[in-house]
């Protein structure tokens, strides 16, 4: 029972981790909570579903295309709603982000209608049973893809030139700019990569729960942010750890405490973390300079 819940938690948590990565990367670089990230995730799920059902595209290609199109959307949102506010107050940028999120959500609601769509399962469903746990093929696929994406991201951040530029920009934007780093390009790439990961999470949740709705981004978006804060916002390993822990905590809480308060668990964790360790589990706390 406990092991089974642990696996369920890991599957859910790995999708939270992918969403959290998008938040944490953007926050690390421009100190903005990208509220529209939940909608990017929703968009990714819709694109994946549409390509598979309407255009009969093979799942792998639909998955990759969803990531590409979602990163385009992410970059567009950055360009229209955040870039003009780069020099204004962070409050203005945050309000603009909330506005972008509401706008995208309702645009989806208008275009797609409020009814849920079914995401057809791209694989023949198969369940592996052992004496202790049961795990379905979809769950294994989600875990493997998430793991691969996280390794890929770590490689991108740590080993490539653009990754180095991203780390430099996160540390000190002005100094990075003086060293000849194109800050605008770095920000664009950050949004593109973060959005692609969010879309990947969206598609995987789509095949896991088999439904896609315009409002599906709201809760996972908020929870992805909670996961980012839990791990330490701005920290990439933190987001991965935070996502997995949040998924496990949520599933365990629903199983052992109360399933009705499932969504409240995440927010209670958020408030507790903010109060006692605002830097998160492995984040650095930045003292505000006078």
């Amino acid at each position: 029972m406990f092991l089974q819940q642990l696996i369920n938690g890991l599957v859910l948590g790995s999708t939270y981790a992918l969403i959290a990565l998008g938040y944490t990367m953007v926050y690390g670089i421009i100190e903005l909570i990208n509220f529209a990230h939940g909608e990017i995730y929703m968009f990714g799920a819709f694109v994946g579903m549409y390509l598979v059902t309407v255009f009969k595209v093979p799942f792998v290609i639909a998955f990759l295309l969803a990531m590409v199109l979602a990163s385009l959307l992410g970059v567009t949102v950055e360009f229209l709603a955040y870039r003009p506010l780069r020099r204004s107050s962070r409050l203005a940028a945050l309000i603009s982000a909330i506005g972008a999120s509401i706008f995208l959500q309702n645009l989806a609601l208008l275009v797609m209608g409020p009814r849920p769509y079914t995401f057809p399962s791209p694989f023949t469903p198969k369940v592996y049973k052992t004496s202790l746990v049961t795990i379905s093929r979809v769950e294994i696929i989600i875990l493997v893809i998430s793991f691969l994406l996280m390794i890929g991201l770590t490689f991108l951040i740590q080993k490539t030139k653009i990754g180095k530029a991203m780390r430099a920009t996160a540390q000190d934007k002005d100094a990075a700019s003086l060293m000849g780093i194109n800050i605008d390009l770095v920000i664009t790439v950050t949004f593109a990569v973060g959005s692609a990961l969010g879309a990947a999470a969206g598609v995987m949740v789509g095949i896991y729960f088999r439904t896609v709705t315009p409002m599906m981004g709201l809760m996972p978006g908020l929870k992805g942010f909670v996961a980012a804060v839990l791990g330490g916002i701005g920290s990439i390993p933190g987001a991965m750890l935070g996502g997995l822990l949040l998924g496990i905590a949520e599933v365990m809480g629903a199983a052992y405490i109360s399933s009705q308060y499932r969504d409240a668990i995440a927010f209670a964790i958020l408030i507790i973390v903010l109060l006692f360790k605002p830097a998160g589990l492995i984040g650095r706390f930045m003292q505000e300079k006078v």
């Binding site: 409050l91 309000i95 706008f103 709201l218 804060v229 958020l270």
Partner: protein
Amino acid sequence: MFSAYYLQIIILVGINIIMATSLNLITGFTGQLSIGHAAFMSIGAYAAALATLKLGLPFFGSLFFGALLAAFFGVLIGVPTLKLKGDYLAIATLGFGEIVRIVFLNLKITGGAVGLRGVPKNTTILWVIVAAILTIFVLNRILKSRVGRALVAVREDETAAESMGINTTYYKILAFGVGAFFAGLGGGLFSHYFQYIHPNSFGFLRSIEHLCMVVLGGLGNIWGSIIGAAALTAIPEFLRASADYRQLFYGAILVLMMRIRPEGIISGKKSRKIPPGKTSAWRGKNKFLKATR
């Protein structure tokens, strides 16, 4: 005098004026971004409705009880979370709002997911007008007093305010308490007008709606919030835009206002001139509110 339809719009405008001005006290004047204002409204709405239904209090008593309970929770959430700044505070208020909604969705006494029905229709247009005027009056008196100047000082530069001997934590909690009190009052009026309340009427999107009114009217300006609340309540009704487009419109307003006129229709600033290269509505050193170079 009015048809029922216009009456309902006027009552909604009145309630939204109470909500927007009280949120403006917290976000516009004290500079603490709150995206959980609807939570205080829901506490007031449920507390007032239950006070009428279960305790049999008169209408005024219920309203006061609801407002007081909302203020209590405002202080309760204020004490721990006000250590947080800027977007951390915003996200904590969001989390608080969601927790309140989920708790109301699961409690027995609130009717859970079915909602609470059978609240007597005590709210009349007179009550709403009196309550709105009272709210505006009290907030205006607070803002014109020493307390109001302290609140603005906290917004402009917390460190400087603190070094001038202003107890910043106290004033932030005070702003949250007073703001929540009036939000609770608005909630009480709401539940006694519609006679039916559901936790999901007070979710994240309702908080955003209030924020929209404040931002549109101008952060840090009471009259702006009144105009913002009236405009955003009445215009969609008169345009006959269905609820489908309303939210889309709200989202666009937030983005466009921040881009074109971040200080709102009526600026909260004394001077209308903005120094070149500076687009913030404020001149202080608050890192969250200040424009960079």
